[in-house]
């Protein structure tokens, strides 16, 4: 009996283990825990795009892509376990979708020679490729996001923010603290008054923060939230009748599930973004045909076209394009993590390429270089329409304040380089 079980187990392990010829993309997802509402659609989108590429194109350059999913629960210890469990299976790229896990993986991936792509999260100063050889955060980072918010406000207020009061409601973690430096610099530059209101994990309790907002009456509230914190904040804002059009979140605070709970009162809430929203793109027709109708969709299959689904899809698309670039550069179909890294560093995303993929204007155009791992940092703005239950892009991808951001990136990454004795690359 036991022998039978063991041989069955062995057989299953052998079958489910990755075939050597596959390109392996681990998906450190979180479908459980307080942040699952955001983790599920992202992971679905990430998985579905690889399924689509396998079904429609027969893989990447003729080699099938294989996604190994590993549940982290947004927990750093489990993230480490997932990383160690998958790295020897030929993992080409890691996208952990968690700033905390990113901070742990940065030194590990650099030592192991596997690229890490933290799209719109993670360590902002990783945009400096001279210091961070294996970390990429194109097309935009937190500081682009912060600057994008301020630029949008400048546009609305005729270019003058002096004397305005802006409150930042943020997740009291490394993720939420990232924009503070940039916002402080920008507040000096533009003369607005910045007030910081931390919210502790997981963020269900925000009564005191919103009481303070009610007392201070800021002109604008900016939010750096994730998971259940977003819903609660938007509900609280609705409760104190804060005007939603003056409430603007980062891209991690701008998905359907964040606003739906507050109903019609959430109408007009805004969030910055680095990719387009909705399912009005040709790629979704293919997705319906090859993935959803074929019953291959990841998860429950009910997230197609949602904001975070699109983000997962976009992340997978960038990974696939980088893998294609690497295949062209090195002339081999079965690329190694080192080749993948070269491909990411040489990645060019232009309008023609996105249109060819059925994703016209899905994200900003950018190219990556040895010095710049962060792309151009173009940021758009989306707004929620509660009646039609849709997000729409109200401001196209625009440039952010490079002067302020680049100086901060150089400062922070140089400090990291000296702390860890890293020699600068790209000379």
């Amino acid at each position: 009996m036991i022998r039978n079980l063991m041989s069955a187990a062995l057989a299953v392990t052998l079958v489910s283990g990755p075939a050597a010829a596959d390109l392996v993309f681990p998906d450190l997802s979180y479908r459980t825990g307080p942040y699952a509402a955001g983790g599920v659609p992202f992971s679905d989108g990430y998985n579905d795009y690889f399924t689509l590429v396998n079904e429609r194109d027969g893989g990447i350059g003729g080699v099938k892509a294989q996604v190994i999913e590993c549940e982290t629960g947004y927990n750093t210890e489990k993230g480490v376990e997932c990383y160690e469990a998958t790295k020897d299976k030929g993992a080409l790229i890691y996208q952990p979708l968690s700033t905390g896990i990113t901070y742990q993986l940065i030194p590990k991936v650099t030592a192991d020679g596997i690229p890490l792509h933290t799209m719109g999260y993670g360590r902002t100063s990783a945009a400096n490729g001279k210091v961070f050889s294996h970390v990429f955060n194109y097309p935009a980072n937190y500081w682009n996001g912060a600057s994008g918010v301020i630029n949008h406000l400048l546009e609305e207020n005729g270019g003058d923010l002096s004397g305005k009061k802006i409150s930042l409601v943020y997740h009291n973690s490394s993720y939420g603290k990232e924009p503070i430096r940039t916002l402080e610099e920008l507040s000096e530059k533009h003369g607005f008054e910045l007030k910081l209101l931390p919210v502790d994990h997981p963020g269900q309790e925000q009564k005191s923060q919103w009481l303070q907002i009610r007392r201070d009456r800021p002109d604008v509230v900016v939010m750096w939230g994730w998971g259940v914190m977003n819903q609660v904040a938007i509900q609280e804002a609705a409760n104190i009748r804060f005007p939603m059009e003056n409430f603007i979140g980062v891209w991690w605070s701008g998905a359907e599930h964040d606003v739906i709970a507050a109903g019609a009162k959430a109408n007009g809430y805004k969030a910055v973004t680095f990719h387009n929203v909705g399912d009005d793109f040709p790629v979704f027709d293919d997705m319906q045909k090859y993935v959803v109708d074929a019953g291959l969709a990841a998860g429950a299959g009910d997230n197609v076209g949602k904001v975070l689904y699109n983000r997962g899809l976009y992340a997978a698309m960038l990974a696939v394009e980088a893998a294609k670039t690497a295949q062209e550069m090195h002339g081999v179909a079965e690329i190694s993590p080192a080749m993948m890294r070269d491909g990411m560093e040489a990645l060019v995303i232009d309008e023609a390429k996105m249109t060819g993929l059925g994703m016209p204007n899905f994200g900003p155009t950018f190219n990556v270089s040895c010095e710049n791992h962060g792309g151009l940092g173009l940021v758009g703005v989306t707004q929620w329409d509660a009646e039609n239950q849709t997000w729409s892009l109200i401001s196209d991808f625009q440039e952010t304040d490079g002067d302020v951001i680049n100086a901060l990136i150089t400062e922070d990454s140089t400090a990291f380089a000296t702390e860890n004795n890293i020699a600068q690359r790209c000379e």
């Binding site: 187990a9 299953v12 392990t13 489910s16 997802s29 479908r31 459980t32 699952a36 599920v40 999913e69 590993c70 549940e71 629960g73 927990n75 750093t76 210890e77 480490v80 376990e81 160690e84 469990a85 790295k87 020897d88 700033t99 905390g100 901070y103 742990q104 940065i106 030194p107 590990k108 650099t110 030592a111 192991d112 360590r123 902002t124 100063s125 009291n172 973690s173 490394s174 993720y175 603290k177 990232e178 503070i180 430096r181 931390p198 502790d200 994990h201 998860g299 922070d412 702390e419 860890n420 004795n421």
Partner: protein
């Protein structure tokens, strides 16, 4: 047949008072030590080190520390997460301020700092007991996490509030940072665990441990027979704090490499270590090992079984894991309220008589 005392004669007080008086037990203990120090380091890989052995070793140190306080001295503490954070941040400040000093010194010093902090937060135990003390230590937990989040000096003013362990060495061997090899980190933690377990075992067998247990069993009676409650309680908090601080320092510097206080040292960490103590067995050093192994290994085993062998979706496996771990905790507490250590004791008794139980 096993654990037989027959023929095992003691001819000196030293032999009579040793930790493992039964020969078979002693041999087993040496065999474990030889395997742990002499065999595993040659076969260990990154996955085994980082996913299984390091967390086990480090949690075992923390569990021994908490067991001294809760199991031996009877002072309930819910501040373990916060005290581990003291160890971690102490270690970080020491590592970055004195880069040339050996990691061994840093880890021991962080243990010392934590012992001092632990004693300060243990002062209320002189006046209050039981649930009230639990609430007081809970305050320590929240205060310490808030402090490390609030004061930028503790994280060297980094933009994100994260602390990251730079590369540091012991006798020329890299112990922290991404280039540390699996065997080095494993042995480093193992040495600390062996040291802590030996110290704890011998403390609890001596007069200090007896005064702790006297306080635990009935503090008024203990005071009447001459045990100084202040001294007993404060030493328990100090020793416990030292071990927890060491584990916090190792947790941050060797195991994770980068932590964020709220996420890594939150209230759930306090509960996790307390569960390890309760499941392992209150007032037992072996129980601390068993409890830590149980709660570290079980999720990994269930994950490997569910995801890799059976091929189930990852989220279903995690949900099952919660249900199974919870059910097992309830099961153990009903079947054996004194934890895994008591089961081990009963097994040993049975084995001594086997195969002739009467």
């Amino acid at each position: 047949m096993f654990y037989r005392e027959a023929g095992d004669f003691k001819t000196s007080y030293v032999a009579d008072g040793q930790t493992f008086p039964i020969r078979f037990d002693r041999m087993r203990y040496y065999a474990v030590l030889v395997a742990a120090f002499g065999v595993i380091p040659f076969f260990i890989n990154d996955y085994w080190a980082n996913a299984i052995l390091l967390p086990f070793l480090i949690y075992a140190i923390a569990t021994i520390g908490l067991n001294i306080l809760v199991g031996y001295c009877g002072q309930v503490s819910l501040g373990t997460g916060g005290f581990m954070a003291v160890g971690a941040y102490g270690c970080y400040k020491l590592m970055t301020t004195f880069p040339e000093v050996s990691m061994i010194v840093h880890v021991l010093l962080s243990g010392g700092i934590t012992a001092a902090v632990c004693v300060v937060f243990g002062l209320p135990s002189l006046r209050i007991k039981g649930f009230y003390l639990a609430v007081a230590t809970l305050a320590a937990q929240f205060f310490l996490v808030w402090l490390f989040n609030r004061v930028p000096w503790f994280y060297n003013n980094s933009a994100s509030g994260q602390i990251s362990a730079p590369e540091r060495e012991v006798f020329g061997i890299v112990i922290t940072g991404p280039n540390a090899s699996a065997w080095a980190t494993y042995l480093f933690c193992l040495i600390f665990l062996t040291f802590c377990a030996l110290v704890a075992r011998n403390l609890t067998r001596g007069s200090v441990g007896r005064s702790w247990m006297a306080i635990r069993d009935m503090d008024i009676a203990a005071e009447i027979i001459g045990v100084n409650p202040m001294k007993a309680k404060m030493t328990a908090f100090a020793v416990s704090g030292f071990f927890i601080g060491v584990s916090g320092a190792l947790f941050f510097s060797v195991y994770l490499g980068a932590v964020e206080v709220g996420e890594a040292f939150g209230i759930q960490k306090s509960f996790l270590v307390l569960f390890m103590v309760i499941i392992g067995g209150l007032g037992s050093i072996f129980g601390s090992f068993a409890g830590a192994a149980f709660l570290v290994l079980l999720p990994v085993v269930l994950k490997v079984l569910g995801v890799d062998v059976l091929g189930w979706p990852t989220d279903i496996v995690v949900h099952f894991q919660l249900v199974i771990v919870g059910a097992l905790i309830v099961f153990f507490l009903i079947v054996e309220p004194h934890g895994l250590a008591q089961m081990w004791r009963v097994t040993k008794e049975k084995l001594r008589l086997w195969p002739f139980p009467h």
